[in-house]
Symmetry: C2
Subunit: 200 residues, 2 copies
């Protein structure tokens, strides 16, 4: 395939390293960068380097943090007795967006996936267990994704958490709000029946 | 909406400035950059700055070039008597990919679009007319896109080129190869009939 002039081709190749970006999209994005103002291009390059060098993980919950504790762990208004265990920092943001959850988080940094060589030692489990040593935490809400790997991780975690004597819960399964019964898959519908609740 | 930690949010905002990238995609891309190696992140940032500062337009055809003439204008094997007029550098690459076209190009840098405030003075027309002063160029092939604006630009160009006494041609309209008659739109089918050719 014919190649673009070198500086452009290098930029296209850089964009192609991003997930879900093919060669046509990469070319489109690279050309749009050429139309950026010099300041915008400089800001883009700086943002990449800053994000890469200035972000660390919170020593308590392993969420992303600029330095020391993350904003949730630093917040006195948070209920320290409830820990929501999620796969990654994006899931933390999903919870923060609903503005209702007032507990803390623990970011695993992935899920168990033998296929990808990710076992318990690759996840931030040691840090989670360390938080359970004193009696502050009363409940651990496991909020891994409702996928095969998320489920396996939840089961594994539930077993590991038993000796600590904390309450262990899992997010509810059921119909998504605004969904359509007709299009619900069998497993979800089955779980919705299992998890049915009395209405008053 | 809850915000990510600052360096991450700035990177997300930078990605959002790219065309067709919404907030969810921007977050996904920004997180993937965090998983880059330091070298890859540095290479990405450098590629942005390099592309921005090292690319110029070819003084003859206005295509992208690192310095001086672009690779096509510098190539002695190219037929200097045929100029293909395209909207942008991506269109040049579309022609180069077929490896059959041996003429030169002229990049307009856009199409006439009064809605977006783009008139003839915003396009690289002066440079095109300058190339027609001596008798080197015999034919101008207008290859703007088959859109309303591309058509308007082609008509305008054809009119402007008349006094120069060069042959002016336009890309053929018709059915795309591998297409399906059933799904061809009326205008395309009409043009395919108009442009029908004898088979031997």
């Amino acid at each position: 395939m014919a190649e673009y002039v070198l500086p452009l081709q290098e930029l296209i190749d850089a964009f192609r390293k991003l997930p879900g970006i093919g060669s046509k999209t990469a070319a489109r994005l690279a050309f749009s960068v050429l139309n950026f103002t010099d300041e915008d291009a400089r800001a883009f390059a700086d943002a990449i380097l800053n994000a890469k060098s200035n972000l660390h993980t919170c020593p308590v919950c392993c969420n992303l943090s600029v330095d020391g504790l993350c904003s949730v762990c630093r917040d006195d208004g948070r209920d320290q007795s409830l820990v929501c265990v999620v796969e990654n920092s994006r899931d933390v943001m999903a919870f923060e967006r609903i503005r209702e959850y007032r507990g803390t988080y623990h970011v695993l940094g992935g899920v168990l996936s033998p296929m990808h060589g990710i076992g318990p030692e690759q996840l931030h489990l040691k840090e989670l267990f360390a938080r359970l040593r004193d009696d502050t935490v009363k409940e651990v809400l496991i909020a891994t994704n409702p996928t095969v790997e998320g489920e396996a991780t939840a089961s594994y975690l539930a077993k590991m958490l038993k000796p600590f004597g904390v309450e262990v819960s899992r997010l509810a399964y059921g119909l998504p709000v605004g969904g359509d019964l007709e299009y619900a898959d069998e497993v979800t519908l089955h779980r919705a029946i299992e998890g049915r609740r009395p209405i008053y």
